[in-house]
Structure formats: C-alpha cells, structure tokens
C-alpha cells in the first residue's frame, strides 16, 4: 500500500538518494530528512510562500509538491543559493535595508526576489510588489523588501557587461 518510494535527485548540487513515503511533501523532506531547515513551513496549504524553493530552476511551493515528484529533479534551497554566492548581493541589500525582522519569510522572499530579477532586469516597484504578492511577511510591511530588491536590480544593471 503506502510503501516508501525510492527517489534520486540533486539538492543544492549534491546527489541525494532517498526513500520517502508518498505523502511526504518536499518541504518536510528537505527539513526533516535532509535537515535543510532554511526552507520554512508557514501554512502548509500553499498560501504564505515561506516554503518557496527552486525545482529545475523554477520557484515552487515545496508544501504543494510531493517529494516523489522531485524524483530526478534539481532542487535548490536557501542554503544552496547562499553557499553558491548567487544571491550574495541581494542578501547584502536586505541586510543594509533591514528588509527582514524575524527572518521567517526571508528565505522564501529571497527565492521569489531572485526569480524576478533573473527574468526582469529593472522591474518597477509595482512589478516587484506583484511578484512577491504570494509571499507573506508579517514584520516589515514589505517596503524595505521592495527597496532592497529595487536596489539590487539597479546594482546588477550597473555591473552588467
């Protein structure tokens, strides 16, 4: 019946082989089996955005994705994006602008922000607000986050070849 399923995937560039119960979602798999606790769980029904990770380059809600669906996928979490340095500038902008307080939404926010900045080089403030509209932050009131992303976008344009 509900027997574990073997999956093999890449998580932050590392090959992972695991056996997971079908009902285990990707967020719990990352947090409980791989101890990648930077991916947070805020609502477990796909609304708050705290569990946002990248699967095959696209941001997804890991609470609305089964671990078995990530078989043969490449999954990237906040730990991976931090270690690779991919979002170091964005993180610095968040720090300088105090764009986080409790920090619980922040990994998901950074994921969503980087997703936007990869596809649009100079989004308007309203575009940024819309792109983040699925990521809940109770602390900041959002403005500092929007500022930090806007600053990062400008800086990246300045650095572009």
């Amino acid at each position: 019946m509900t027997i574990p399923v073997a999956i093999s995937l890449h998580v932050n560039g590392e090959a992972v082989e695991a056996r997971v119960l079908p009902r285990l979602n990707l967020a719990d798999f990352l947090r409980e089996q791989l101890q990648l606790t930077g991916t947070h769980v805020g609502c477990e029904h796909g609304v708050c955005g705290a569990c946002t990770v990248r699967v095959n380059g696209d941001i997804v809600r890991s609470c609305l994705t089964l671990a078995v669906q990530a078989d043969r996928a490449s999954v990237e979490t906040i730990e991976g994006l931090s270690d690779s340095g991919e979002i170091a500038d964005l993180q610095a902008a968040f720090r300088d602008r105090n764009a986080l307080q409790c920090g619980f939404c922040t990994p998901g926010m950074l994921m969503a922000a980087q997703d936007l900045l990869k596809s649009e080089s100079s989004p308007s403030r309203q575009r940024i607000r819309e792109h983040l509209a699925g990521n809940y932050c109770r602390c900041t009131g959002y403005q500092a986050i929007i500022d930090a992303i806007e600053t990062t976008a400008r800086a990246r344009i300045g650095r572009a070849p």
């Binding site: 009902r23 979602n25 029904h45 941001i59 089964l66 078995v68 699925g134």
Partner: protein
C-alpha cells in the same frame, strides 16, 4: 497539517493512467501540477487512496498550432501559457488571464488540465475556455471524447469528466479577423480567487460587436456565458442599451453569497464588469462613465 497516507503510482502512459483510474475508480486522484489537489490533501479535505501522477507523460505536453486550431496539452503549465508566443498570438485572452492566476510559484506548477478538471467556479481558465469556444479533449477506455467547454463544466468542482477519464488537451479554434478580447476580475488581493471575473472574446468592427462572448466567473456553479450580451451585437451600443444588457445580465445570474460578497454585490460587480468590458472592447470610455448604473 499532514496529508493522509496514500499509495502512489507514476503513470507511464495515458493508457497506463487510464488503467489505474479504471481499476481504482473514485478512490484514485490524478495528480497533475497539484496546486489545487495538494492543499486539499494537506488539509485532509480529501484523502484519496491512490495518487496517479501523470506529471511525466510527454504526450500531454506542448502547444501546437495547426491551420485552424491551437492544441494545448493538459500538462501545459500556467507559466508556459504566459510565455508562449503561440498563445500570445492565437489566444491572447489566455495570456492575459494567466496574470491573474495566483502567484508565480503556483503558476510554475499548476497546469491547464489540472485547472480545468478541478473546475473551481472562481478560477480563470474555465471561463476563458468558454469564451474561446474551446473543445476539451478527454481520453477514456473507449477512446477520446471531445466536449465543448460550454458543456464541460457542470457544477462546483464538477465536470463532464468521469473518474475513469483523463483530460488530455484543449483545442482552441483559430480566431477570426477583428478579434478582440477582454479580461478583468475583482479580487481582494493580487492573485486571490476572484469575487467576480469576466473573460470575453469578441469580434469588433468599428464600434459594433459582430460577436461578443463575455463569460462571467465566480457568479455561479460554473462559468456563465452572458446571454444578455446578444443584445449588444450587430447594433450601435448606447449607454441605455448597455444598461439594459447589464440589467438583463443581473437577472440571468444566480450567484451565491459568501464572506467576500453577497448575492447582490456579485450581481452588481458582474454588471460593472460587463459595462467596462463593452466600453473597453468598443474603445468607448463614455460607456463606462456611469458605472454599473
């Protein structure tokens, strides 16, 4: 908030998926993008015994354009629709509607087939299908059925699809000359389900509708093609005529009230959207000046 236990089968073909569905009946659920199914399972609103994952079926993927039809595979994600040059050219209504569907992370997994089979009366794509005169292609043990979108949606989360069938594609007829479209919805927050929405496809020559298919959603148990719109076709649209059509629309709708909007509010907003839609499609801002009357 953890889903109940279930068994999992990764379908290897449409035929294989159908075999599983036939064997397990309504104890099985098809997993496509999972963006509606997963929340319901996590909340234990539903507890299927078997999940049939169709996510890897290549035969359900892709958008193809032939001379008179655009075929969209069931696994085409919202984000694929939004980015597709074919959709932008041949079904711009759909491209515009996608911007109102939830959020990027949801659109990256949610599929057109999943959305249509789920048939949430407040969701955008079913209404677009009706407006676009889409044909829903369904596969079952006796082969394919082709169902007009207007006949496909039969109630709240109810469709013409049986538990032993799989939605495999939708086909959109090519748009005639002078086609125009309109999409708008009222939602409390960006990306929320609509309180009331309208997807419209039309043929406009000058300031006259030659064809006008405004489809309202979140105003009943399924998308509603506004019969009242026929009053606006093949004749000059005046504010009075539009008000008359809006009143007729309100009369033909039987919305439910809920926490977001009462019955009368839904009727009011539906009228308002019809007025704004007609004004926009005819490029007559004066028609919208009076609101919903």
């Amino acid at each position: 908030m953890k889903a109940s236990a279930f068994s999992y089968a990764r379908a290897t073909s449409v035929g294989n998926a159908l075999e599983l569905l036939i064997a397990h009946g309504d104890k099985a659920k098809v997993l496509s993008g999972g963006q509606s199914l997963m929340p319901a399972m996590n909340l234990r609103l539903i507890s299927p015994e078997l999940i049939v994952d169709i996510g890897e079926l290549a035969e359900l993927q892709g958008i193809s354009v032939s001379r008179d039809v655009v075929r969209i595979g069931a696994l085409t994600r919202h984000v694929d629709l939004a980015r597709s040059p074919e959709i932008a050219t041949h079904a711009p209504l759909l491209a515009q509607a996608i911007g109102h569907v939830a959020h990027p992370a949801i659109r990256n997994r949610g599929t057109i087939g999943g959305s249509l089979a789920h048939a949430d009366p407040a969701s955008e794509l079913p209404a677009c299908m009706v407006a676009l005169r889409a044909v829903i292609v369904v596969s079952g043990q006796h082969g394919e059925r082709r169902i007009a979108a207007a006949d496909f949606f039969t109630g709240i989360y109810q469709t013409a699809l049986t538990a032993q069938e799989l939605l495999v594609a939708v086909e959109l007829p090519a748009l005639p000359e002078n086609s125009a479209h309109f999409f708008d919805e009222f939602a409390r927050r960006h990306g929320d389900y609509a309180i009331v929405g309208l997807a419209a496809q039309a043929i406009v020559r000058g300031e006259v509708f030659l064809d006008f298919r405004p489809v309202l959603f979140a105003v009943g148990d399924r998308p509603v093609l506004a019969k009242a719109a026929s009053r606006l076709v093949h004749r000059p649209v005046t504010p009075a005529l539009l008000a008359e059509a809006a009143a007729a629309l309100a009369a033909e709708l039987e919305p439910d009230g809920d926490q977001q909007a009462s019955v009368s509010m839904r009727r009011h907003l539906a009228k308002l959207l019809l007025v704004r839609c007609a004004a926009a499609l005819l490029d007559r801002p004066d028609l919208a000046a009076g609101g919903a009357g």
